[in-house]
């Protein structure tokens, strides 16, 4: 299924363009106060100014670093914990109420207690990002690992594979598609948590800038930073999608085949 580059771009960004146009018209029409609702073009100009400032770029990278660093640790932790839990039904049952409790705590809710534990600094932001991102990864991984295809396991056992080899060579690869669903959700939460934590307890990063711009009524800057957070989300999603295609391309092709069959 081939499509031209232009039709791809239209599909992907057409909606966004229409939205921006409506925004522009409404903002300039005088229906709303331009001070609080600046036109898109003005925001784009503000974004242009931001991105040319080395200080802003520093802050942008700081947030990316926190989100990506925390996400990477959350992936390792979430999958590691799932591998341990997958070995024991009892352990899974015991962990599940904790997981259900912890996963609904919004990142800002754990900021105060985390400050007591870690002080203000890199550890704090990482902890909050990890905390936000780890649960969907863990939950998806543990569910997938606990529900292997019995025939695959039986075949592997008859070939002489032991339990550990079956875990790493059959159950884990089979679980990867579902694990990636968790990673995708977790990556969004990682960015969200990084920005939220920065708004509450940081002097650097997009969250801190956003907070500052918002409460000093620099509305255009505020929107500009919000747009940058949004763009970061798109880039992060693209990154996850690229790694996903690289690791489980087979599954994507298999699913696509099912859709066209």
């Amino acid at each position: 299924m081939k499509q031209s580059a232009t039709s791809y771009i239209v599909r992907k960004f057409g909606g966004l363009a229409v939205f921006a146009l409506i925004w522009e018209v409404v903002s300039r029409s005088g229906l709303v106060l331009q001070d609080y609702f600046p036109p898109v073009t003005a925001i784009l100009v503000a974004m242009g100014e931001e991105i040319r400032s080395a200080k802003f770029v520093d802050n942008l990278f700081t947030t990316w670093g926190r989100a990506l660093g925390g996400l990477a640790i959350a992936i390792v932790l979430g999958i590691g914990l799932a591998i341990i839990a997958a070995r024991s039904y009892v352990l899974r049952r015991m962990l599940s109420p904790f997981v259900d409790m912890l996963r609904v705590l919004p990142p800002p809710a754990i900021v105060p207690i985390s400050i007591f534990a870690f002080g203000i600094g890199t550890k704090l932001y990482l902890f909050i990002v990890i905390f936000a991102a780890v649960w969907p990864i863990y939950i998806n991984a543990v569910n997938a690992l606990a529900a292997p295809e019995p025939v695959q396991i039986a075949t592997a056992r008859s070939m002489g594979y032991g339990d550990d080899e079956i875990l790493y060579r059959v159950r884990l690869p089979a679980a990867l598609p579902e694990i990636f669903t968790g990673i995708r959700i977790g990556s969004g939460l990682a960015l969200l948590a990084a920005v939220a934590a920065e708004m509450i307890a940081a002097s650097s990063g997009l969250g801190a800038l956003l907070y500052d711009a918002g409460f000093t009524l620099r509305v255009k800057d505020m929107f500009a930073i919000m747009f940058f957070v949004g763009i970061s989300g798109i880039l992060l999603n693209a990154l996850v999608a690229t790694v996903r295609r690289w690791l489980i391309g087979w599954h994507i092709d298999l699913a696509a085949m099912g859709e066209h069959a």
Binding site: S158, Y161, R169, P173
Partner: protein, 263 residues
Amino acid sequence: MTSILSAHGVGKSFGSHAIIRDLTFNAREGEFISVAGPSGCGKTTLLMCIAGLLKLDVGSVEFQGQKISEPPPGLAVVFQDYSRSLLPWKSNMENVVFGMKRLENLSAKEKHERGAEILSSVGLRGFEKHYPWQVSGGMQQRVAIARALAANSKLLLLDEPLAAVDAQTRADMQDLLLELAAKYKQTCLLVTHDVDEAVYLADRVIVLSNRPTHVIEEIEVPLKSPRDQIATRSDPIFLDLRARILSRIKSLKGPGGNADMPH
């Protein structure tokens, strides 16, 4: 000929449901045995017990003189759900190589050469790099068979391997199975619902009873080899055996005889 497999007084229950009771038979080296029995009688369970994948409640299974307690080397299984048994993230070749776990002294390169040879002998040359889900059901079945042969096993357990393919493919696959069994010197134990198929393939047919299942008849098949789809199937011996087995199985289906147990 020496015995390669012997099941003696095998019994197996799941909870309070007795599935196998006092089942005994022998397989000689190089023999092709068809196992026919009513549906749901416990054929798959029996194969799992023989493969060391399920523990027996009573009795014993000996393979090459060793009592089986866990999956033994030299024994390969092709499961009824073969398409789900293939690993979808591995190509056909990688799936076959995956079956060579116990061939530790082969290098990766030698394993691939062996894989290529086996894939071509099941008629899949040119499909090494395809994924199992990119090829037809019949081809997936061949990949599963190739993977079982790849282990360099002596005994091949086949659980209704041809149940899901169309008639023409089925006939071709039957001949391919016989050819492969000879080429790779396999002793085969093949479960099938189809009495014609059981007779066509086998040196001996074992007929199983309803649950709890046991051997009710062992029938030698004195048909000439190599078998031929037309000549063999019109041979009076074939027709006679077929009638005998069919009536034997029919006699099982008395009132309540084939009732499915609730579980």
